[in-house]
């Protein structure tokens, strides 16, 4: 039963992700992994036999746990990836803030000196 639930949820999830990309709420580069993830889940659900084999090899008694293990590993790495992305964005924001703030000051000085020249003339 659980496999069918996973299949349905995965399909809905894949459509949801696709919809987000179409509506510009998610960058395509971030969607690839999520859609890939849903496809892997679907494939895994269809190949229960293989999951049983993998479970035996890994010494796991309850086969669906194998899916959970892979899911947890995936989330772990993906969360780390997102933290890296956030860090990069943070650096970019800081740099932009600094450059923009310095530029604003420069523009003000320029404007003031132009005004002064204008008054003299």
């Amino acid at each position: 039963m659980i496999y069918y639930i996973i299949i349905i949820v995965s399909i809905i999830f894949a459509f949801f992700v696709a919809n987000l990309v179409i509506n510009n709420k998610l960058l395509p580069k971030y969607s690839v992994l999520w859609i890939g993830y849903s496809i892997v889940l679907i494939i895994m659900s269809f190949s229960i036999k293989y999951i049983d084999i993998v479970a035996k090899i890994l010494g796991v008694y309850y086969a669906p746990s194998v899916i959970f293990i892979f899911a947890i590993l995936f989330f772990m790495f993906y969360t780390l990836h997102l933290s890296i992305v956030a860090t990069k964005e943070n650096y970019r924001t800081i740099k932009l803030t600094q450059e923009l703030s310095i530029l604003k000051e420069r523009v003000k000085i320029l404007e003031n000196s132009i005004k002064k020249v204008g008054r003299k003339n």
Partner: protein, 234 residues
């Protein structure tokens, strides 16, 4: 000190309207240009600093101490300043030491001169926890780099052009002083300290509570280990 555009005092400020005017005027008397980095203050820090004669950069986002001070170093780099001071906007640092710091830099051929609260006991009162923390960081830097810095967290520093250029490129954001002191020591730059008397805060509260102090220690220790691992690549 030469009169030409040579020396810039970088003053990070957040809600310092009560103290900023005196700081700016006192630093100007020492012959330095003053750059106040207004980190999104909610009071009149910016206007008061401008009136007092400072150049003011109003940050468009709140960046915190590291990002703010780095803005000052970027400005110093772009405008070809030869020396840059870092001095707090809350009035705790006395600008009268500026001359002595410049002389020390010249005499000792140092790249960084730190105004130190602890190199000589001039009566700066601090809690036991703070003393313990300060000693720990100081010893950690000594262990990692072989350089003894009595007051590695002091926000009162003078740096030369080489350091200005490095800081403009890379500067830590959370607790920058201990980290940069270690990384510059590892890169082989000469760091000197001079004793200074620090005023107790006249206005506002210091942010340190026991929990933030411990959290500070953990973060600084981690940051210093990372700096050590990065090594002394020039």
């Amino acid at each position: 000190m030469q009169k030409e555009k040579k020396c810039l005092a970088i003053v990070p400020a957040y809600n310092e309207e009560k103290s900023i005017e005196k700081v700016v005027k006192d630093v100007l008397k020492q012959g330095c240009d003053v750059l106040v980095i207004n980190d999104c203050s909610k009071d009149n820090t910016s206007e008061i600093a401008k009136k007092a004669g400072a150049i003011v950069i109003d940050l468009v986002n709140n960046l915190g101490i590291g990002g703010g001070v780095q803005t000052g170093y970027k400005y110093a780099k772009e405008n070809e300043y030869q020396f840059a001071f870092q001095i707090d906007g809350d009035g705790q640092h006395d600008p009268k030491y500026i001359k002595e710091m410049l002389e020390t830099m010249d005499k000792e051929k140092a790249n960084i001169v730190i105004g130190s609260r602890f190199i000589k006991d001039l009566g700066y009162k601090q809690t036991f926890m703070r003393k313990l923390g300060g000693n720990f960081i100081s010893n950690l830097i000594k262990a990692f780099s072989g350089v003894k810095i009595c007051d590695p967290a002091s926000g009162y520093r003078l740096v030369d052009r080489k350091i200005i250029e490095l800081f403009a490129l890379e500067y830590p954001y959370d607790y920058p002083e201990p980290e940069t002191n270690l990384s510059m020591a590892l890169k082989g730059f000469k760091i000197k300290e001079i004793p200074m008397k620090m005023h107790q805060r006249e206005f506002g509260n210091s942010f340190v509570t026991p929990i933030t102090a411990i959290w500070y220690m953990v973060k600084v220790t981690l940051a210093l280990i990372i700096q050590k691992l990065k090594g002394g690549k020039k």
